[in-house]
Amino acid sequence: MYNLFPRLRGALWLGYFFMLAPLIYVIVYSFNDSRFVSVWSGFSLKWYHHLWNNKVLMTATVISLQVAFLSASIAVLLGTIAAVTYTRFPQMRGRGFFSFISIAPMVLPEVVLGMAFLMAYLVLQDWVGLPRNRGMLTIIIAHATIGMAYAFIMIRNRLKNFDSAVIEAAMDLGATPLSIFFKITIPIIAPTLISAWLLVFILSFDDLVVASFVSGAEVTTLPMAIFSSIKFGLTPEINALATVMIVILSVGLLLISRKLTQKDESGMILQPPSE
């Protein structure tokens, strides 16, 4: 390969420094004994202890995990259906609208999405009485819809460069469409399904804006709890929480990516879905 600008490596390291330094800062200061976030006064694990005993954050974490698990599962299911419909039926009427409305939740700003979901719930409540109140269920539905857009794009891209010879061979041998789908399509796109599930899980676990719009007064997700505690001022507990999340993520990312990146042709695990 022709090396255009030999000094680019410097730019790369500088960029990495910019991206990782804040995370390193958070990790280091989570072990700080002092209450003040910028003064180092010695090593201590007390913020982890505080975090463990913080009922609000712990309850919120459990809620967020449940919401993320369910919305990721629904999103992948719906995204698969949408992607199969889209690739299998190019002559479908209204295909443009179909793909537009499936992608829209991904590209619109969160404020607009949050408003839209809330308004939709209120209308539905008025018409059919459901959802009865706002809480976990409404957050799950909203997250599943947004996640579906991401799953749709990833799975669609995977289905596009799918070796159709396998399908044709199966058909020649007399397989029914349904058994082709479950015995051939699903195993081949499985790594993409897993990447999509993980992506939606993270997006849901991370979402503050949409959840704030659609959740009722009783249900607080983890980002909502973090946001309100940050607004009260910096607390080292949040550093400890961030460290725990970073460690879990890095380990998970390392374990999973090794397996998935080679197999998942829809892109790197978590490449922005544009690709």
Binding site: F5, G15, Y16, L20, M92
Partner: protein
């Protein structure tokens, strides 16, 4: 390739399509599309101090006549109220500036990444994904600790004797732009990286053989060939940045008025749902065009 399956005249295929597309529509139309219809309706409704905080558009309905009451004051406020016009202009400025800086930072990084030996590239990509997967809120939070007047950066600069009083870094436009660039950098980096990876580097060699200096090779050969990656990256930074709420609230302080934040505050603090709907509708209409274009071009 799907020829045999594509024969939609085949009735069983037709039913499969109905069933599959029906599932998707049955989910997305009521929970999502309906919301936009309702936003449009509420945007033209009269505010009302009640639950819900707006009056019904349809005031009378019978077989003799139908009566509508369309409230237009919000539409005019959109253009006449200084705060909205100001917030929009400022959002455009901050989102545009952040997108540009992200591009300037990400392009050399992506180039540098492509030029690294192949076997390191996937581990280096993982390091880009790590912050991307880490909670957005916590990444913004880290910057509060860094930029604070008693934060790391100010403390370090004072210890070094470069400054005597802390610089006002937090709660400025600088902090907002920095936060947006930081949070959305991976969105710029990854499309650029994948476009650069597909680029045929022998073109650069050819241009060098023909006497191009590196800089003009870059400008005349590399840049035009990576326009699609640049567009995709800019799209995925600019659009969320335009509606950004959390970064202006946490890093910009009370002065950082941005469009998304104005909607947020109209909704949660003023409880004026009609104005919040009108503002959302305006944002939606403005974004329709670039989203439609991106989809046409096949970027999405």
């Amino acid at each position: 390739m799907w020829k045999a399956l594509l024969n939609i005249k085949n009735p069983s295929q037709k039913w499969t399509l109905f069933l599959l597309a029906g599932c998707v529509y049955a989910w997305i139309l009521p929970v999502f599309f309906l919301g936009f219809l309702q936003i449009t309706k509420v945007a033209f409704s009269e505010p009302y101090i009640q639950v819900p905080p707006y009056k019904n558009l349809l005031t009378h309905f019978s077989w003799e006549f139908i009566e509508f009451k369309i409230y237009l004051a919000n539409l005019f406020d959109l253009f006449n109220e200084k705060i909205y016009v100001y917030a929009f202009g400022r959002s455009l400025k901050i989102a545009g500036l952040s997108t540009l800086i992200a591009l300037i930072v990400a392009y050399p990084m992506a180039l540098g990444l492509v030029m690294m030996p192949k076997r390191y590239q996937s581990s280096l990509l993982l390091l880009i994904l790590l912050p991307f997967w880490t909670s957005f809120l916590l990444r913004v939070y880290a910057w509060i600790g860094l930029l604070n007047s008693d934060g790391i950066i100010n403390t370090a600069l004072m210890k070094l004797g470069l400054i005597s009083t802390p610089l006002a870094l937090l709660y400025t436009d600088f902090a907002v732009v920095l936060g947006i660039v930081y949070c959305y950098l991976p969105f710029m980096l990854l499309p650029l990286y994948s476009t650069l990876q597909k680029f045929d580097w022998s073109l650069i060699e050819a241009s060098a053989d023909l006497g191009c200096k590196p800089w003009s090779s870059f400008r005349q050969v590399l840049l035009p060939n990576t326009v699609s990656g640049i567009f995709t990256g800019c799209f995925f930074v600019f659009i969320p940045a335009l509606g950004e709420i959390i970064i202006p609230i946490l890093l910009g302080g009370s002065k950082a008025v941005m469009f998304g934040r104005v909607i947020w505050e109209e909704f949660f603090f003023n409880r004026d749902w009609t104005m919040a709907s009108m503002l959302s509708l305006a944002l939606l209409v403005i974004l329709m065009f670039p989203i439609y274009r991106a989809q046409k071009k096949g970027d999405l």
